[in-house]
């Protein structure tokens, strides 16, 4: 490689990486890749890499020898640092397809989710017999409703409810509205009338995402593709299947919807 180009390769690679990371952060694409607590680290590294690129370009290292070629990147290293990141940036669709979700197995029980803690016993009522504000005994905190009076719930709310008797009684037999991604149920649907409504649960980054889903039962014929975002309205039930309560939503209406800004749950 031309020695001059070779010397430029280091700041160029640093700049490319820094700008790409900043692009993901500033465009909002980063929310599809990292847990919020890691997004700031990514942003900081983007800024530092960009500043380093400028500093390395403006302040050439006059001290250190170049006898081993350590100042320049060889062509294979340069290719390794440039091609994969550019290619994956252009190919990635910022979400997983059904193939990876199936490979990771849809988790139907809240105990199978990372960081699950068993529900605590509810606090005792206050001296006057009323329920304390800000406690889980105050259903208004988590039972928000839409204009049609349906409870707005997440898939994990219903999964939690399947485990906890108190929460179960809040949802059981009531109308709820849940948003998630549609995944055909490969097992546990003998009449072919069930699908999974899935959200991806993330600890650090998308690579560790675990699909958490409830079962939706419907008699409608579905005209949606796998992993389409849908809004399901229906009645929440918690039948015992294989010895455990399981959240099963009997759908009244299923409509396509826009993905939420943050597609993950944490």
């Amino acid at each position: 490689m031309n020695p001059r180009l070779s010397r430029l390769s280091i700041p160029a690679v640093l700049l490319l990486w820094g700008v790409l990371i900043l692009y993901f952060c500033l465009s909002g694409r980063i929310v599809s890749y990292l847990h919020p607590s890691f997004q700031w680290f990514a942003f900081a590294s983007g800024v530092i890499l960009t500043l380093l690129a400028a500093a390395v370009f403006l302040l050439p290292d006059g001290h250190c020898c170049d006898s081993h070629g350590s100042h320049a990147l060889g062509l294979p290293s340069l290719a390794m640092l440039v091609v994969p990141i550019l290619a994956t940036t252009s190919i990635s669709q910022d979400h997983f397809s059904a193939s990876t979700v199936l490979n990771r197995r849809v988790l139907e029980h809240i105990e199978d989710l990372p960081a699950f803690t068993p529900p605590l016993d509810p606090p005792l009522p206050q001296h006057d017999g009323t329920v304390g504000e800000g406690t889980m005994m105050d259903p208004s905190l988590y039972l928000q409703t839409n204009t049609e009076g349906q409870i707005l719930a997440e898939t994990v709310d219903l999964m939690y409810a399947a485990t906890d008797e108190t929460m179960r009684s809040d949802f059981d037999g009531r109308e709820v509205e849940v948003v998630g991604q549609l995944m055909p149920a490969r097992t546990g649907s003998p009449d072919n009338n069930r699908f999974h409504l899935v959200r991806l649960f993330v600890m650090c980054c998308a690579a560790d995402a675990r699909p958490a889903g409830i079962i939706v039962q419907t008699n409608e014929s579905l005209n949606f593709a796998e992993m389409d975002w849908v809004k399901v309205s229906g009645t929440a039930t918690f039948p015992v299947e294989n010895g455990r309560h399981k959240a099963v939503l009997h759908a009244n209406r299923i409509i396509e919807t826009e993905p939420p800004r943050e597609s993950f749950i944490y």
């Binding site: 590294s45 990635s92 490979n103 803690t117 690579a207």
Partner: protein
Amino acid sequence: MSGPWFSFTLTDFSYSFLSILFEGIPFILFGTLLSGVIDQFLPARVMTRLIPRNPAAGICVSALMGLVFPICECGIVPVIRRLVAKGLPVSSAVAYMLAAPIVNPITAISTYAAFRGQGPEEITTLRLSLGFFVAALAGFAVLNLPLRSVLKKSVLDQCGDVDSHSLTPHAPFTRRLASAMHSGTRDFLDVAVYFVLGVAVTSLFGTSINQEIFLPLALNETLAIPAMMTLAGLLSLCSSSDAFIAATFVSFPAVAKLAFLVIGPMVDLKLLFVYSLVFTRRFVAGLAVGLFLLVALLALRLGIVFQ
């Protein structure tokens, strides 16, 4: 098992690749900038003063250094490369490299939190103890090996040439800082090449392999241990959060989850590539096989003891 055992999707591979890259880069950058500072500002004599001269004591102290200087497995390799160049014995460096991602307060807290309701005290204590023990044993094994069979030639050359890249302590601070930046930058790009390779392989397996193939093995305690260890190697999780994933494998025996937590931060697909920056390929292969067998045997033994 529902679905095929292997199904590759390029868009998923790209998505997973970028997410691991974005998660890991800040830690690698921190580690490499720290390595640049070590290069320019840490006199070689400090290392010889900090670490006991007795090799056994040196290895044990190094395996515990993560308690004071916690650093994750992605960022540690450039740091130990500089420390070795500054005079840290290779056996101590290996012990620190393997133990620090496990024997540190952040990992201890996250393990305890993740295993609430599943014996958090026992799992956390055993994880840290086994991590220390295995890392120290690896350090002792390296003690008896010739350096040229452990370190890459480029790293070995730096060992005999300790401060050749460092400016003298009398050089202006700003010049030394600039030099530290250049050292750190070179280290970053060196590690990044191997990291990209490792992340690519991890993403390939993380998105393409049907993880249900591991489930039938949960019922057999002997097979569950290597199955969980293999899974740890394939998933290449960060040591600060891997316990949350391990805890969800409720059908697997506790010793299998313990083996997952010990081997993961020491040997995984991306680390095999990153280790190749400092160590010879033969040593990396031997280290991986040796650690896998050692952790598996220890976990099996623990399983028998606790039955």
